[in-house]
Assembly symmetry: C2
Homo-oligomer: 349 residues x 2
């Protein structure tokens, strides 16, 4: 099993996703600032993985704190949380994880400092365990939606590398294959960062799952040729109405799927559902450096000084989404109601 990220006594250990698929290299972030850098530079990426990385970063910062009383620790916590919270704006899991760590700090605040520190480290480790369990549950729910055979398209990487293991969208595919379905994955290469060709293809090939890499602009042609039976992607934030922010290009895939009568599914842990964001309109979209578009492997591929747009995400309106697969179950339109029901069910349960 791929260890996307891992708590160690020396710090947080990441597989360096900027160097896959040709090099399998692990890097150790020894301070919370180094964890923030790892998130910002996309050594670790994928909303669920970012969430747990953030929690571990907070735990690491708190563990290394020299504060001598709870008030000083609280203020240091806020500084740590601010640094980590400023790395990437779209994935709501980042803020969810920081909030959960803050709540844990509150709950433990009457304890001696060493116990608070140990408690926060345990909380971050617990989130990793829960993330994998959530992915496995999503897999069980989502496998039933997959075709019994044929091509399934995915965009970006919503796999083991985007999570703490098993994956969201790729977890659904893994579970479907585990249940005997004959699925061939089409992986959009996913410009500009190439999470599809570099990461999705790498982890699926490790598992012996048949995979074909295509350029993003080929998805429509593959659909028209009848090669795609379903689409399943992850998410960086799901609004209360079911609008989905995910990697740039997801919206185009959703429109194409609809045009071809192909179901478009989203798989994401409940921590990605943001009921405080009413619609996709309110989701902040990160703009990344022009250089990701103008340079390939260090080589310049666009003229000097050309304008570039490089939004890292787009929003797919709920009308294109056939179902949202979460560890709590499957939500279908109207999402405003179905997501509220899943929220309530968990509280009740």
């Amino acid at each position: 099993m791929i260890k996307t990220l891992e708590w160690t006594d020396e710090g947080v250990r990441f597989i360096d996703q900027t160097r896959l698929p040709t090099e399998e290299v692990y890097v150790l972030s020894r301070t919370y600032r180094e964890v923030a850098d790892a998130i910002r530079t996309m050594i670790v990426r994928g909303a669920p993985a970012i969430g747990v990385a953030a929690a571990m970063g907070v735990a690491l910062g708190v563990k290394q704190s020299t504060a001598t009383d709870i008030n000083a620790l609280r203020s240091e916590f806020d500084q740590i949380a601010k640094t980590i919270g400023e790395t990437r704006p779209t994935a709501v899991n980042l803020f969810w994880a920081i909030r959960r760590m803050k709540e844990k700090l509150q709950a433990l605040s009457a304890m001696p400092l060493p116990q608070i520190k140990a408690g926060l480290v345990r909380e971050a480790q617990q989130m990793l365990v829960e993330d994998i369990a959530a992915n496995e549950a999503m897999g069980r729910h989502g496998a039933t939606l997959m075709p019994s055979s044929g091509g399934v398209l995915t965009h970006c990487n919503a796999g083991a590398l985007a999570t703490c293991g098993y994956g969201t969208a790729l977890g659904v595919i893994r579970a479907a294959i585990g249940s005997g379905k004959q699925i061939h994955v089409f992986a959009d290469e996913t410009r500009p960062f190439l999470q599809g060709s570099r990461l999705t293809a790498w982890e699926l090939m490790k598992d012996g799952i048949p995979t074909t890499v295509i350029a993003d602009n080929m998805a429509g042609a593959m659909m028209r040729q009848g090669k795609i039976k379903a689409v399943v992607v992850g998410a960086d934030r799901i609004a209360a109405n079911g609008d989905v922010a995910n990697k740039i290009g997801t919206y185009s895939v959703a429109v194409l799927a609809r045009e071809h009568g192909i179901p478009f599914y989203v798989a994401a842990p409940w921590s990605t559902v943001d009921l405080n964001t009413p619609t996709g309109e309110q989701i902040p979209i990160e703009q990344r450096s022009a250089r990701e578009v103008t340079h390939h492997a260090g080589k310049q591929v666009a003229p000097d000084g050309v304008n570039v747009e490089n939004p890292a995400f787009d929003v797919t309106p709920n009308k294109y989404v056939a179902a949202i697969i979460t560890e709590r179950g499957i939500a279908r339109a109207p999402y405003l109601e179905s997501l509220q029901e899943l929220e309530g069910a968990a509280v009740a349960g």
Copy 2:
């Protein structure tokens, strides 16, 4: 003015399109085999440019022939035509140009060999002149369809570099800007060969036309944000029913345009219209090397041995096409009739 290709006494001179935008290098093809290589390796690309390059390649081969009678020259012509005809299967201009050269050979066959050779060289040079004139005519017709201001999306390169000068789709944009319209071009980078970021952006910036490069998967998001008022692309082959083969990804752009109520235009010279091909189904689609997808600037970006699909073109069904702009005028649906009318009008005129 950019000289995409040029007849010289030593051979055919091309701007090397594989090295733009960082290096403006010219290469000389001294034999018809070298011209065939230049077409195959995409030193020259773009359906209209390929057509004229093929004609010049034929002229070069015939000029260098050591045949001593017309029958020997005819058989050498057929060998030259076969070699050049096998380079790229989709762009019909290639076959159109070879056929036109063959007809010229027939017409001149009673002449002494030196005059036949000179006549074929003149015919190829004439095709270059006609290509530029056709582009200017397309520009005049198409400019009226462009918005008076705002973003116009194009895919691949259908510009001066895809033709002998001025361009088809970019010719329409140039003419619209020349007539006072305030157009900002969005150029899809166009994976895997990056004709958009490398070539379209380069030639538009040379002309001072505002240009923004986006990854192919961003076009949908730009449309949804209202940044695109029209789409105009070139074509590699247009079937009798108006189905359009063009660079891979064009079909996705057409579907997205329709979803957003944005007109999708195709600009191409009449030599791209193939009334002998009934529908897009019959257009052969070139598959290119997996390496174009798995490697960026020589660096491997997909796992060893992964499956890849790399169709160089796709087919956009006529229902997505708002108009086809040719030098003979503008065709609109139903294309089976409007294209026949343009064919007949030219014959009559």
